[in-house]
């Protein structure tokens, strides 16, 4: 018998509702995908056609023929990679410190870090931009990656995760003469892999999709990230023309992030579900 049919009516109702919601959520994405394969001229008059012809690959070819698109892809990968590694290292160290180490002012310092969660990134843009300009970091990889290293969410996540790990594990390691750093690195840190994966994915995706900071800090085409570079190729006011090209850009920029998510999906679900503690 079909497993679904063995379930109660309530479960089946929930499943049906979730399927409908998932379809509603996916509809715009599928629409974007469908439009990316339509000729721009055709879309001037018809944007409501989903699967009917005509089809074209011209929009994707136009992206690939934009001479700097692979450089932008490289810049995005590099900046997102550096930022992810940096956030993981800093958040793990800070989280462990807040969770396990006693030092004067710890609670106040933690509160101060958490205050960062309440400050919108946009509100510090102007001072941040001036600071980076003074340091001549405009149009550099460092200029693109460094601001993202301040990650209060990462510190919070890792602190909570470290707190949930039984202290007996560390005590046992220390009884065997392991130093605190060695205990952290070899015993405790590997246990936080699901949280690291979650934080890594969130950080990578946030950086990959970031548009606003690259907009002001990367002003030379050589230093554009993918989001910034693709946006610069939009061809006319308010995108009433070139809609297929715009949609192809969205798909092109989204595919690497989607692949990353699919690759680390298991860790993400595990950590969010809170079952990775053991």
């Amino acid at each position: 018998m079909n497993p679904l049919l063995r379930r109660g009516w309530f479960d089946r109702f929930v499943m049906a509702a979730l399927t409908l919601l998932a379809l509603a959520w996916m509809a715009p994405l599928l629409w974007v995908l469908a439009l990316s394969f339509k000729p721009n001229e055709f879309l001037l008059r018809h944007t409501d056609v989903f699967l009917a012809p005509p089809y074209t690959l011209a929009n994707y070819l136009d992206i690939l023929q934009t001479s700097q698109v692979f450089r932008w892809l490289g810049n995005s990968a590099l900046v997102a990679g550096l930022q992810t590694v940096g956030v993981l290292v800093l958040s793990s160290l800070a989280g462990y410190g807040f969770a396990r180490c006693e030092f004067p002012g710890r609670r106040w310092l933690f509160a101060l870090v958490m205050f960062g969660l309440a400050v919108p990134a946009q509100s510090v843009f102007i001072p941040l931009h001036r600071l980076f300009s003074e340091w001549n970091l405009q149009n550099t990889i460092a200029g693109l990656a460094l601001p993202g290293l301040a990650a209060p969410f990462g510190v919070y996540l890792m602190t909570q995760y470290f707190k949930a790990i039984p202290t007996e594990l560390e005590e046992a390691a220390m009884l065997d003469n392991a130093s605190r750093f060695k205990t952290f690195l070899t015993i405790i840190l590997p246990l936080t892999l699901p949280a690291q994966a979650t934080l890594g994915i969130f950080t990578f995706l946030a950086c990959w999709n970031d548009y606003l900071w690259p907009l002001v800090i990367a002003t030379q085409p050589d230093m554009y990230t993918l989001t910034r570079g693709l946006a610069s190729t939009q061809t006319n006011f308010a995108q009433s023309e070139g809609l297929g090209f715009l949609m192809a850009q969205a798909v092109f920029a989204g595919v690497p992030a989607l692949m990353l998510y699919l690759f680390f999906q298991r860790h993400l679900v595990t950590a969010v579900a809170g079952t990775g503690k053991s």
């Binding site: 001037l44 008059r45 944007t47 070819l61 136009d62 023929q65 934009t66 001479s67 692979f70 450089r71 892809l73 490289g74 810049n75 990968a77 590099l78 990679g81 931009h129 001036r130 980076f132 300009s133 405009q138 149009n139 990889i141 907009l215 002001v216 800090i217 002003t219 030379q220 085409p221 050589d222 230093m223 946006a231 610069s232 190729t233 939009q234 061809t235 006319n236 006011f237 308010a238 995108q239 009433s240 023309e241 070139g242 809609l243």
Partner: protein, 442 residues
């Protein structure tokens, strides 16, 4: 993991690879919008072969680089929306472009902050005749008697008309010319007749997710009544005047009676027009080229039935909202006299090809070109040439004009979409705009 590290290392190497200027050439940077179309026009070396804004500006630079072996112009493309945020960010961080395209309505803010170079002496020296600038172009690029940019075009607020539907509504002459209204009453009568005969609304214009269209229609209607929206010193807006109330009331009546296709954004308004779902779309000069191309397609509802006219004169004075694109040189954009001369050489080159740019639909900024047979022979341009002297903009001394346009447009959208009373819109715009103007002056 190993593969990931290899990929990251490769990307690092690629990203860190330094690019050096081409040997022996003077390099200047050109910041612009108009998009990127190098896949289509990257290898086209003649401006006369470019199509559309992006195609023409790309081929213009290609042609310059090909014909001036000692100079290389490097294009840096910014996108429309945040263009001025990015330009300002570049100026702050001293990463200054040599030449940048600017709307004339935005130029004043940069001139007041002493960021743009005056160009009269340079223009006289290299042979760009300021006297040949059209009236609107000259007004847009001159501040305190000094010229601060090379005008590139004048763009204006137009009625793009489906003459087939107008004919069906009985609003066309025997030879197919659309009959335009000459007063608000005539417009309402025409719109009612149009709806009755065709079952379609008279207008499509962007009312949702777009504030500029609402503002430009409103400013056109006020200017046609000869009223001054801003004080002579540009420090305040005066919304409490009959001309303002009349303009707003007309817009609201048109919308409430169903003569404007409801809830359309910019792209949807154009799409509705192209699909023959409205008689007139109110939008700028930049769509002329595109609509002309559509009107030649056999399956288009516009086929053989497209005309474009300046925004119909509904009050005493001929006036239509207009702005323009221009090229400005920034202080610090070049480090030496050679770079400055190269930039001027480029501007001269652009000036000499201003006729090419008018193929986009924008109006020429040279009197000679505007009066030339070649320009007037372009389709639909004959009736638009008057805008070069009837074009009305916000006065140059009004600061932060883009923001002011946004504030006015938001309240006019409320007037149309949610039926906000005219008096409330007048009070709200006055309060918000005056606050913004005070802030801009500090």
């Amino acid at each position: 993991m190993k593969r990931l590290l290899i990929c990251l290392s490769a990307a690092l190497l690629a990203a860190c690879g330094a690019r050096t200027p081409e040997a022996g050439k003077t390099e200047i940077t050109l910041m612009r919008f108009f998009g990127s179309c190098e896949s289509q026009f990257g290898q086209v070396m003649k401006a006369s072969e470019g199509i559309g804004e992006c195609g023409i500006v790309t081929t213009l630079v290609n042609e310059f680089n090909a014909t001036h072996p000692g100079i290389v112009v490097k294009t840096q493309i910014g996108e429309w929306g945040p263009y001025y945020d990015q330009l300002t960010a570049r100026l702050v961080s001293k990463d200054i472009p040599t030449v940048a395209v600017m709307h004339e309505s935005a130029l004043g803010d940069y001139v007041r902050r002493k960021l743009v170079l005056p160009l009269d002496a340079d223009f006289a020296r290299v042979g760009i005749p300021v006297d040949d600038f059209t009236e609107h172009a000259r007004k847009g690029t001159t501040f305190n008697g000094q010229t601060y940019a090379l005008p590139f075009d004048t763009w204006a607020w137009l009625w793009h008309i489906n003459t087939r539907l107008m004919k069906q509504a009985g609003l066309a002459t025997a030879n197919g010319e659309p009959v335009l209204p000459r007063s608000p009453e005539e417009l309402l009568a025409q719109a009612r007749q149009f709806k009755q005969k065709t079952g379609k609304p008279y207008f499509a214009w962007a009312v949702a997710n777009e504030t500029a269209a609402n503002d430009r229609t409103f400013q056109t209607l006020v200017a046609q009544q000869g009223a001054a929206l801003f004080a002579a010193d540009g420090k305040s807006i005066h919304m409490q005047q009959p001309a303002v109330a009349k303009a707003l009331s007309l817009m609201q009546t048109l919308y409430q009676e169903g003569h404007v296709r409801p809830n359309l954004d910019y792209a949807a308004a154009n799409q509705a027009f192209l699909n023959g779902e409205a008689g007139v779309v109110v939008v700028g000069t930049w769509t002329i080229d595109q609509f002309l191309r559509e009107s030649k397609k056999p399956d288009s509802p516009l086929q053989g039935g497209y005309a474009v006219r300046p925004f119909a004169q509904l009050f005493d004075k001929p006036a239509v909202f207009a702005d323009g694109h221009s090229w400005a040189l920034f202080k610090g954009g070049t480090t030496d006299a050679k770079g400055h001369e190269a930039a001027l050489t480029f501007l001269k080159f652009v000036w000499e090809r201003t006729a090419e740019w008018s193929r986009t639909g924008h109006l020429p900024v040279s009197k000679t070109v505007a009066q030339s047979e070649a320009f007037r022979a372009l389709p639909q341009r004959e009736s638009l040439a008057e805008i070069t002297h009837t074009g009305a903009s916000m006065p140059g001394n009004v600061p932060t004009q883009r923001n002011i346009e946004l504030l006015i447009g938001e309240d006019v959208a409320n007037l149309l979409l949610s039926g906000k009373p005219v008096a409330e819109v007048q009070a709200s715009v006055e309060k918000r705009v005056n606050k913004a103007l005070q802030k801009a002056r500090r």
